[in-house]
């Protein structure tokens, strides 16, 4: 394009030619280099999702091993050292490498589609975040496989995690894994916020934003405010271990409880990073299968926002037995119960939507109903552990293990699987088998409850958490065996899910662009979506655009057809403000992630790594941001 001449616009071209042109502009280059350079939010999100499921599989195998060890008293399936690594890896992986990333990744995939844009706000940062996450996870699992896995729990309490009680580098690998995943998590949070704020399709005012997008936005803000606490804490831990600062060392003026405050100030909101997107899935799925608009859309959105705020005021309920002042603890009882109110509002609204709709029993809805069943149990036991006196009995027992799995699996993994069944046709262009799906649901539902319900009783009968074995004299054998049988059944349900996916990818029925007749914008484009998502950016005039405009969606014109271009709009009204170029694929984010990753890993062994590592990081960042002489963006 020579300077001065008018750029090529979508108005200059016919429909077919325009589509071919825009598609080729946004397509990720072929070949390995192309694959490694991709900045397409869908490809990156899919990588996140597949990687997270792989980590879930590993941590799930770990869980089954632990269940086998606990199935009978005084068993020798694994020894205490392996067992401690296993429960640490299970918790750390499920929280940091599976649940949080996968929830963010579903957002990375669907937020741009649901708000009608072509990519996320910072595509290269997005690519970088994935590589950081991958390296952190791989590092942790390589350590575990070389019998050097962290063994101080996913919470890594001090002083147990200090060098006096944890020689070698096990706790360092854990702390550094936090750094990797937090870099990734914070990047995705920033990307999500800017994408939702600035890149919504014209007309998508605040009241027309789909609930799931709200959920992703609230989660992103929570990540932004909560993750720094654990990042600071894990950095302080590394400093204590590496250069003898004494943040947590009591004998030298440190404080062992400081860690718990910092960790749980992050750790409690973290539960809601996982739960809020899950409720977003539920609020997306229920209206589609109830065949009516969501009852109380505004109330549901406000509940998400309220949950986000309240989740920062509960962390002390993890510390009720540390001897904090009783009156202060009671405040946290009240705040912990208060957070159940917005959850209650959502449950009532979901039931009301189903009540006044005409429910269609497809697999996604079944998983949502299973979610309500399980999550309400988890919520109720949550209210129990919020009570200081009750918590002094059940804290750190199997009762809490049961509670947290009801909330995290019942409350988040069930909706996640519902979301897989719901969105798989969009992502792959093929339907999953409904028959297998229904079997999958019932086996998961029965296996899950059989695994975790008995744990409530075990906890009340005095079984503490994190014990690698128990004596035959304790009355825990029967329920533990039952729980192990349940765990095997539950693990089998995941094999069914993966089988269903594999089978469907090979010979599933074609999905078409909107198989469920859903109302949000991701269903307006083809399945799978083309690289540019939308050849023409749609104009939105309703919360349910596809139900309002059943024939064709109105679209804007005047976008350029000779470069990657996205539309940037105003925050509340989403009025188009300017057209902005979107970055081309680049290998530099990968190089930057490699340089950063090596620096992090190296700094486990010497503080000088931070100095030496700065040089390659700088070089890769220069490559990443090398100016290309693009013209100013046009208003």
């Amino acid at each position: 394009m020579s300077a001065g001449s008018e750029p090529l616009r979508d108005t200059d071209l016919g429909e077919a030619e325009l589509e071919a042109r825009i598609t080729s502009l946004w397509r990720t280059p072929r070949g390995l280099i192309g694959w490694l350079s991709s900045v397409d939010h869908k490809q990156i999100a899919l990588r996140y999702i597949v990687t997270a499921f792989l980590f879930m599989g590993l941590a799930g195998i770990g869980a089954v091993l632990m269940r086998l060890q606990l199935a009978t008293p005084d068993a020798h399936v694994v020894g205490p050292d392996r067992y401690d690594q296993l429960f640490t890896m299970h918790g750390s992986t499920m929280m940091f490498l599976f649940a949080v990333p996968i929830m963010q990744a579903v957002g990375l995939y669907f937020v741009p589609l649901m708000i009608g844009t072509r990519d996320v706000a910072f595509p290269r940062l997005n690519a970088f975040s994935y590589w950081m996450y991958l390296f952190g996870g791989l590092m942790l699992w390589f350590c575990f496989l070389s019998n050097n896995g962290p063994d101080v729990g996913w919470f890594s309490y001090t002083p147990l995690a200090l060098t006096q009680y944890n020689v070698g580098h096990r706790a360092d690998f854990w702390a550094q894994m936090i750094t990797y995943t937090e870099v990734a998590g914070l990047a995705v949070a920033a990307i999500t916020i800017v994408t939702v704020f600035k890149m919504r399709a014209p007309g998508m005012t605040l009241d027309r934003i789909p609930v799931f997008v709200w959920a992703a936005l609230v989660t992103a803000f929570m990540v932004l405010f909560a993750m720094p606490a654990v990042m600071v804490a894990s950095t302080m831990l590394i400093l204590d271990r590496l250069v003898n600062t004494h943040f947590f060392d009591v004998s030298l003026g440190g404080d062992s409880l400081l860690w718990q405050h910092l960790f749980w100030f992050f750790g409690h909101p973290e539960v809601y990073f996982i739960f809020i997107p899950a409720t977003g899935f539920v609020s997306t799925i229920i209206p589609v299968f109830a065949r009516r608009p969501m009852f109380g859309h505004t109330a549901v959105v406000l509940s998400l926002v309220a949950t986000g705020f309240l989740s920062f005021g509960l962390w002390v309920h993890h510390m009720f037995v540390t001897g904090l002042p009783r009156l202060g603890e009671s405040f946290f009882t009240a705040s912990s119960m208060a957070i159940a109110v917005p959850s209650g509002v959502q449950i009532f609204c979901w039931i009301a939507t189903l009540w006044s709709g005409r429910p269609r029993f497809a697999t996604p809805l079944l998983f949502v109903l299973g979610f309500i069943f399980n999550f309400v149990i988890g919520g109720m036991t949550g209210v129990m552990v919020a009570s200081v006196p009750l918590d002094t009995q059940v804290h750190d027992t199997y009762f809490v293990v049961a509670h947290l799995h009801y909330v995290l699996i019942g409350g988040s993994v069930f909706p996640l699987i519902a979301a897989v069944y719901y969105w798989f046709p969009k992502v792959s262009g093929r339907m999953l088998s409904e028959t297998l799906g229904k079997w999958n649901f019932w086996i998961a539902f029965i296996g899950f409850n059989l695994t975790f319900f008995p744990m409530h009783i075990l906890g009340l009968e005095g079984m503490p958490r994190r014990v690698y074995t128990y004596s035959a004299d304790m009355p825990w054998g029967g329920l533990n065996l039952l729980s192990t049988i349940g765990a095997i059944i539950f693990a089998f349900s995941f094999l069914m899910l993966f089988w269903n996916i594999a089978r469907s990818l090979m010979r599933g029925a074609a999905a078409g662009s909107n198989p469920w007749d859903a109302e949000t914008l991701e269903w307006a484009t083809t399945s799978p979506p083309p690289p540019q998502n939308f050849t023409r950016i749609p104009v939105v005039s309703s919360l349910m655009p596809l139900w309002e405009n059943r024939e064709t969606l109105p679209a804007i014109t005047g976008m350029r057809a000779d470069r990657r271009e996205v539309l940037v709009g105003t925050l509340t009204e989403a009025e188009p403000d300017l057209r902005e170029s979107s970055p081309d694929p680049s290998i530099w984010p990968l190089f930057a992630a490699i340089a950063t990753g090596i620096t992090f890993l190296w700094s486990i062994y010497t503080p000088w790594a931070v100095i030496y590592g700065a040089l390659p990081i700088t070089i890769t960042l220069i490559g990443w941001f090398w100016p290309k002489g693009t013209k100013e963006d046009e208003s």
């Binding site: 009680y165 608009p293 159940a340 009301a352 009570s387 002094t392 074995t469 009355p475 109302e519």
Partner: protein
């Protein structure tokens, strides 16, 4: 009692009723645990009722009969929407009311424990990786003594436990008597326990404290006042002197070998401070913090190879000849 079938030989051998409730929050034997259990059943009843209502609503919502509507998507009826809105408003108000009641009930129960109670006895409990040191304190130095993994208390009176941890965080938990309390390095914590009737209540560390967290148990032995003072008087005495050649040999091996580096036996030269005080070892029910019953066979096995019974325990294996091992074991068992 529900689950009081005979189980294992361990508790039976301890003279217990071999009951499943020896370490259970569901079988309170002290007022704190009883108040918590009452609160628990109250919460459980209300929560179960709420859960049931939600489930019934959900099932009816998806299963009720409906008139067929021709349109692909229902247009909500404003009158019905308003009615549902009111019902939901009522549901939310009820939810909030329940939580207010829960918070107040919880607060009142909590307050009743927090109020200082007059207590006669103070016992200092120190958590170590992975055993419990127990010091009976008194104003007169000659009334103090130390034991391990076993806390004897008189029934019917509050006993204050003062906690300390020199290494990592542990948590003291005897569910039949009270909720748990962490032992945190650098912090003072305490717990008041009281048992209603004589009995043996098991507890174990509830905060993950390292590789042998699973084998860090202790027993609270509640005794009548007279049994307790008898026990106490016995514990205050120095160790029983060996009264035959084998025991004398055992004592000699203990004092001259590695044992005395870590363990104390009052009245002898053994004064190590690292491991448990063994002055009245023979009177205790278990060895290695509840890992095994205290018997001659278990003890010899433990001394010969502690790492087999409790891997990674801090106690090193001690190379002893067969006769020496047997003599030491006999000697320790004689320390009633």
């Amino acid at each position: 009692m529900r689950a009081c079938a005979v189980r294992g030989s361990f508790f039976a051998s301890l003279g217990l009723s071999a009951c499943s409730s020896v370490q259970s929050a569901l079988a309170p034997e002290g007022d704190t645990a009883r108040a918590i259990l009452q609160l628990f059943w109250f919460f459980t009843a209300v929560c179960a009722a709420v859960w049931l209502i939600v489930m019934v609503l959900m099932v009816v919502a998806v299963a009720r009969r409906r008139v067929a509507v021709p349109d692909p998507v229902l247009e909500p009826d404003p009158v019905q929407e308003r009615r549902i809105g009111w019902i939901i408003g009522g549901g939310i108000a009820a939810t909030i009311a329940i939580f207010v009641v829960f918070t107040i009930a919880s607060f009142l129960t909590n307050k009743s424990f927090a109020e200082p109670r007059p207590h006669g006895l103070i016992v200092k409990v120190t958590g170590h990786q992975w055993w419990w040191q127990v010091d009976y304190e008194a104003h007169e130095p000659d009334q103090t003594f130390q034991t391990a993994n076993e806390i004897h208390i008189p029934v019917g009176q509050p006993v204050k436990l003062d906690f300390e941890s020199p290494d990592v965080i542990h948590s003291f938990w005897v569910p039949n008597l009270a909720g748990k309390q962490d032992l945190i390095p650098g912090r003072y914590t305490s717990l008041t326990i009281e048992a209603d009737k004589p009995g043996i209540y098991r507890g174990q560390c509830a905060e993950y404290c390292g590789i042998q967290h699973a084998h860090m148990a202790m027993y609270v032995v509640a005794q009548t006042a007279s049994d307790f003072s008898q026990w106490r008087a016995q514990q205050l005495k120095p160790a029983q002197a060996p009264n035959n050649a084998e025991l004398r040999h055992g004592q000699q091996v203990f004092q001259s070998g590695a044992c005395a580096m870590c363990h104390t036996i009052t009245g002898t030269n053994a004064g190590g401070q690292v491991g448990p005080d063994l002055t009245h070892f023979g009177s205790r029910m278990t060895i290695a913090a509840g890992t095994a019953r205290n018997s001659l066979g278990n003890l010899s096995g433990w001394i010969a190879d502690p790492q087999r019974m409790k891997p990674y325990t801090r106690m090193p294996p001690v190379a002893l000849t067969g006769p020496d091992l047997l003599a030491v074991s006999h000697y320790l068992e004689s320390l009633k």
